[in-house]
Amino acid sequence: MSTSPLLDVRDLKVSFRTDDGLVEAVDGISYSLEQGRTLGIVGESGSGKTVSGLTLLGLTGSRRTEISGEALFDGTDLLALDEQQLRKVRGQGIAMIFQDPLSSLHPFYRVGAQIIEAIRAHQKVSKSAARARAIELLGMVGIPDPAGRVDAFPHEFSGGMRQRAMIAMALSNEPRLLIADEPTTALDVTVQAQILELLDRLQQQLGMAMIIITHDLGVVAETADQVAVMYGGRIIEQAESRELFDNPQHPYTWGLLRSVPRIDGGSGERLRPIPGRPPSLIGLPEGCAFAPRCVLANDACLHGRPRLESAGPDSHTAACVVGLDQRAKAWQATQQDLDDSAIKTAAGVSK
């Protein structure tokens, strides 16, 4: 049984003209997402992950933006819509929540009023009906005494409650897709767990699809069905979640997995940081964006950008020119904590 995907992004490119040069924030990414599933987009700062999410709703804002490619939402290309058509999608077909709920809610308006505004932007209902719905939504996201708190101001809520209110607002028109940009990064860890649990429950209840944009691999493992790893504005690996963690096929993904301390790991073992730092998105050199930091880099990596090629079952793809066998050996060596030259030798990669 194949259903056409809810969201089908094809070769999306976004660049900004700035005084410092052309910033190629998103450099040709493609993915598809089915109804009811969650896609995790993982990357560090400067990977282009946030811009890719904002572009779907036309929120990148700058006048000097060039966008190309397609983003088919239920068959309609979002990138071809004009402002007026996009406004119908925003908050209704696709909703978005952001990282910092304190700065993302208007400080001068009551929370209830902001939710009511979201409702009445898309539904013809009376103010009192909208208000009743707002109270219902606040209850649905787990805010105690919603009728009493609907008239509170954002700064009167704690961080976790604020994020719940934002979620309530985003869900007010029952969107088919929710884009969550670092939804828990600004929150304490116990609150983070509550919010992720809430999103999971709501997703099942409402049958929506979700895109979670984050830098935290733990969050991705917790929430995502499929994962796309971004680096330098490109997707460098994509797979079903379990497959990605069991069988990562790109040196950057290995680097991410090995450089993060784990709560279930022993203490004292040395972390393997990725040397160097993430690239600037202005004037990316030809060739693989990760090559300057990659343990397996060789001459072939410097010419021509690697394409996403099959690297495992279930449409697992990775963008790396080093052969699959060689990579498998290299990953094994990495897991055994061998040093860089030993990994290269194991992989049989020449300088």
Partner: protein
């Protein structure tokens, strides 16, 4: 048993809340730190963890005397830092240095990197011979992994990770014995965090440093620390060797905290992690007796009446709880919202 390098006794910091503009009336206090005691052995790394409002950053600043304690003692090598003034305090500061969280705002943007790292020498009047300071600064830059030729560059010319290295170099300038690292990697990208953590580990080993490591990221703390103190609303609720704490947490809050950390392992998906409901209460009007009791699934009436003291349990860790978890016991899941 070697004497501890640092011993904190009953440290208290209350920030008064006032009302009124012309005539300020005290109407209460934010009890940021409310009776904290611990000791740190030389060469050890002690972690202070907790969530917003637990008082860990305030404790750090109190030890570094960037804030004045309301009461309590801070014994560094036997001498009470809290009671020091003037030149005695100034000299003591050479031994206790701090690394700050935000590499973007903790460096003076108008000074060159070289002069930033050199400043401690100027303040204390050390290494006055020509060129001696510069040489030492360049030595320090190499030690933290920076290119000494960048002596004359400005902070904005460096990346976040490099700026944090500058902060480390500055902290090391006077050969301190105790370093307080306040969330040193929280503001950095994941792939850079590991570099800085490795740097700190290496420096500790090479220079025999004692480190108090403050973080909210439990995975990082586990990796870096020998012992860990868990704080909640201004008090320490558990203090134990890292292995023990993470394997067998005894305080319900510690257990909930550990359960909440997302692990990069999809096998774990669906396991209940949000064991705690609600939010951290305000530090201005904290709950009575055990501050955790309103959110604790094990709480009884006693918990709201009798304050549990930090006491040693069977395996040597310290817990402040009337009903600590025993080995292997799991914390009960809370009632979920409907």
């Amino acid at each position: 048993m070697t004497a501890p390098l640092l011993e904190v006794r009953d440290l208290v910091k209350h920030f008064p809340i006032t009302r009124g503009v012309v005539f300020k009336r005290g109407i209460g206090a934010v009890q940021a730190v409310d009776g904290v005691s611990f000791s740190v052995a030389p060469g050890e790394t002690l972690g202070l963890v907790g969530e917003t409002g637990c008082g860990k950053s305030t404790t750090a600043r109190l030890i570094a005397r960037l804030l004045e304690p309301t009461s309590g003692e801070i014994l560094f090598d036997g001498a009470d830092l809290a009671a020091m003034r003037g030149s005695q305090l100034k000299n003591a500061r050479r031994d206790v240095q701090m690394i700050f969280q935000d590499p973007y705002s903790s460096l003076n943007p108008r000074k060159t990197v070289g002069s930033i790292i050199e400043q401690p020498f100027q303040i204390h009047g050390l290494l006055g011979e020509t060129g001696a300071r510069r040489r030492r600064v360049q030595e320090l830059m190499e030690q933290v992994g920076l290119n000494p030729e960048h002596y004359n560059r400005y902070p904005h010319e460096f990346s976040g990770g490099q700026r944090q290295r500058i902060g480390v170099a500055r902290a090391l300038a006077l050969n301190p014995r105790l370093i307080i690292a306040d969330e040193p990697v929280s503001a950095l990208d994941v792939s850079i965090q590991a570099q800085i953590l490795n740097l700190l580990s290496d420096l500790q080993r090479d220079l025999g440093l004692t480190i108090i490591f403050i973080a909210h990221d439990l995975s990082v703390v586990r990796h870096m620390c020998d012992r860990v103190a868990v704080m909640y609303l201004g008090r320490i609720v558990e203090l134990a060797p890292a292995e023990q704490l993470y394997a067998n947490p005894q305080h319900p809050y510690t257990a909930a905290l550990l359960a909440a950390v997302p692990v990069p392992d999809p096998e774990r998906r669906g396991a209940p992690r949000a064991l705690l409901g609600g939010d951290v209460p305000s530090a201005a009007s904290p709950p009575s007796a055990c501050r955790f009791h309103p959110r604790c699934p094990r709480a009884t009436a006693k918990c709201s009446e009798v304050t549990p003291q930090l006491e040693a349990s069977d395996d040597g860790s310290l817990v402040a709880c009337h009903y600590p978890l025993v080995r292997g016991e799991a914390l009960a899941e809370r009632q979920r919202d409907a």
